[in-house]
């Protein structure tokens, strides 16, 4: 028994020694990492840690935080009906717009990559334009306006489908659909650009080798050559898609109002903003952020597992 323990102790010692040696051997690497690491810990890790700490306190920003244990979390999960609505909405938006937006980003990047050079530059600009110009909400507000000037209602009337006024942005029956369309319209952001750049780095030689090996059409080429070569960018795009789809708040606030009718499009981040910026309950807002954070980490793990299957 004791010899087992001794063995274990010796092994641990050896490992520690090995780690120390390895640290010594990689001094240059640590020096390269140091500037980023220091700034990152200071301006990103520390605030996150402090926020997680706030989630166990009552903190109204004016007075120092008071420790209240799990009260915020208990209230959130058991007593806050609106939070439960917001979870449902966020999940629904995330599950629909996350994967769809992600696939759209890749699909369009890939289709654009097929074009001749000049057209390619133009198309990238056009598809990324909504992200730069940020006029999308105003246009959607007009498009789905409920008065007689709304383009969507006018179209339905002119086509003879329906002459009733549809309250796109205030009737819970339609709000979610409109929001989903608006989100998809703006989903070609950072993921899309990284795909465009990533497609440029797949070497032409591999495609040529592919012709020789009998890759018959563009779909086979996509699955066997392009996608496996793009794995790092696909991972990047996936993390961005998760971050964006769970972080939905601005679209819903801009289009459906804050709060929206019956909280029909209330999202988790909207709820967080409500408590953080309007009710000055930072502790509660931090608890919401922490829960959301945990869910996002879990979904990233799931996506990771999926992406490992690409190209097999």
């Amino acid at each position: 028994m004791s010899s087992n323990y001794d063995n274990w102790k010796i092994r641990k010692k050896r490992e520690a020694l090995y780690t120390l040696k390895s640290i010594g051997k990689h001094k240059v690497q640590y020096a390269f990492l140091a500037p980023y690491a220091i700034l990152f810990i200071l301006f990103f890790i520390a605030p996150v840690v402090v926020s997680i700490f706030y989630s166990f306190t009552y903190y109204n920003v004016l007075n120092p935080p008071q420790f209240i244990g799990l009260t915020n979390y208990i209230n959130l999960l058991l007593a806050d009906d609106i939070f439960l609505i917001s979870i449902q909405n966020t999940f629904m938006f995330a599950v629909i717009t996350g994967p769809l937006g992600y696939m759209m980003s890749f699909l369009f990047a890939w289709l654009i990559h097929e074009l001749p050079r000049f057209l390619r530059s133009v198309m990238v600009l056009i598809f990324y334009a909504p992200t730069i110009s940020g006029q999308v909400y105003m246009i959607f507000a007009t498009l789905f306006s409920s008065d007689s000037y709304g383009w969507a209602n006018a179209l339905l009337t002119n086509l003879g489908i329906s002459s009733k006024t549809i309250y796109w942005l205030t009737d819970p029956k339609y709000m979610k659909v409109v929001i989903i369309i608006a989100i998809l319209w703006t989903s070609l952001g950072s993921g899309f650009l990284s795909f465009i750049a990533g497609l440029q780095t797949v070497s032409e030689d591999q495609y040529e080798a592919g012709y020789v090996d009998g890759i018959k059409n563009r779909w086979q080429e996509l699955w066997y050559i392009t996608l496996p070569n793009m794995k790092p960018m696909l991972m990047f795009g996936a993390v961005m898609a998760i971050t964006q789809s769970f972080g939905i708040a601005e679209v819903t606030m801009q289009l459906c109002g804050f709060p929206s009718t019956d909280y029909a499009t209330r999202t988790v981040v909207e709820h967080l903003i409500d408590y953080g910026a309007y009710r000055f309950d930072m502790g509660y807002a931090s608890a919401i952020a922490t829960l959301l954070f945990l869910v996002m980490i879990l979904s990233k793990k799931g996506v990771n597992a999926l992406l490992n299957k690409v190209g097999t």
């Binding site: 990689h26 240059v28 390269f32 990492l33 500037p35 980023y36 690491a37 700034l39 990152f40 301006f43 990103f44 890790i45 520390a46 605030p47 996150v48 402090v50 926020s51 369009f108 289709l111 097929e114 074009l115 530059s121 990238v124 600009l125 056009i126 598809f127 990324y128 334009a129 909504p130 730069i132 940020g134 246009i139 007009t142 000037y149 319209w185 950072s190 990284s194 465009i196 750049a197 440029q200 780095t201 797949v202 070497s203 495609y207 890759i215 059409n217 563009r218 070569n229 790092p232 960018m233 990047f236 993390v239 998760i242 981040v269 967080l272 953080g276 930072m282 952020a289 996002m296 990233k300």
Partner: protein
């Protein structure tokens, strides 16, 4: 040099037609916001308030810009100062971010050392934490470091933005280790390998990082971090001008929207062209 790319042998005509068809249909939708922003800036006031709004301008006018420049001339701090502030923040912030994040991305992608994988995972995870609740701790840390009310409150945290590191690391992962080892055999030190071997190979990623960073920093209002009037940013100053008169300044507001957009847009066009041009034929695989 021919504009058209050589046809790939395994592409069907019907497929090509399909590609163009899909891109044109969706492209039209995606173009609307940009067209709207550009047209609005040239609309006379009565057209801006026209209901339903029209996409295209009927009687284009430069009045909105003329008004904007008059208002710019009336500010208490010379307007060029606001422009300088934002240019400074954008250039220094983006440059520093590129250097700091690329250096870290290089060692994280090409070496295994104690703590390297853990650190990278933490960076990617931190990306997901909601920025709304970290504002207060962030402010407290900056005020301890006496960074509040200086450019550095915006610039220094931008250096360590997780997005850039993540992007660079993913692209550098594609560089074969043999290339780096070959450079080492030739006697190159890590610093030289980084600058002369690694960075040129990830040019598309570099430019993409710059696009993200410029887009972010150029639009920074930073009104909660910078109070001194002479240090305020361009978007903040412009938003002050617009809010000075609600309805009467709707035209100016449209001009401001376009004015603010033009720099990131121009950079985007230049960078995209470059990404596509430089990498059209050369991959980084061996």
């Amino acid at each position: 040099m021919s504009i058209l790319k050589k046809r790939k042998p395994n592409r069907s005509r019907a497929g090509d037609f399909g590609v163009y068809f899909i891109l044109i249909i969706f492209g039209t939708f995606f173009l609307i916001p940009l067209l709207f922003a550009i047209n609005n800036a040239f609309k006379p006031l009565d057209e801006i308030f026209l209901f339903p709004p029209e996409l295209f301008v009927n009687k284009p006018t430069m009045d909105n810009f003329a008004d904007l420049f008059v208002l710019m001339g009336k500010t208490w701090v010379p307007f060029s100062r606001y422009i300088f502030n934002t240019v400074f923040i954008t250039v220094v912030g983006t440059g520093g971010h590129l250097l700091v994040a690329s250096m870290a991305a290089y060692v994280l992608s090409k070496y295994r050392f104690p703590g390297s994988r853990f650190f990278f995972n933490v960076v990617v995870t931190a990306l997901m934490f909601s920025g709304y609740v970290t504002q207060i701790p962030n402010y407290l840390i900056m005020s301890k470091l006496h960074m509040i009310d200086t450019y550095w409150a915006v610039v220094i945290p931008a250096f360590a933005a997780p997005l850039g590191l993540f992007l660079m690391k993913q692209f550098m992962e594609q560089i074969p280790m043999t290339l780096i080892e070959a450079a080492k055999v030739d006697g190159a030190k890590e610093g030289r390998i980084f600058i002369q071997v690694v960075m040129p190979l990830v040019k598309p990623a570099t430019l993409t990082l710059c696009i993200f960073s410029i887009q972010n920093l150029w639009n920074q209002r930073a009104s909660n971090l910078i109070y001194a009037e002479e240090l305020k940013t361009l978007p903040y100053a412009l938003s002050q001008i617009v809010s000075g008169g609600q309805v009467a300044r709707a035209g100016v507001s449209a001009a401001v929207t376009l004015f603010i957009m033009i720099v990131p847009l121009l950079f985007f066009v230049l960078a995209q062209n470059n990404i596509i041009e430089t990498m059209a034929s050369s991959g980084i695989k061996e």
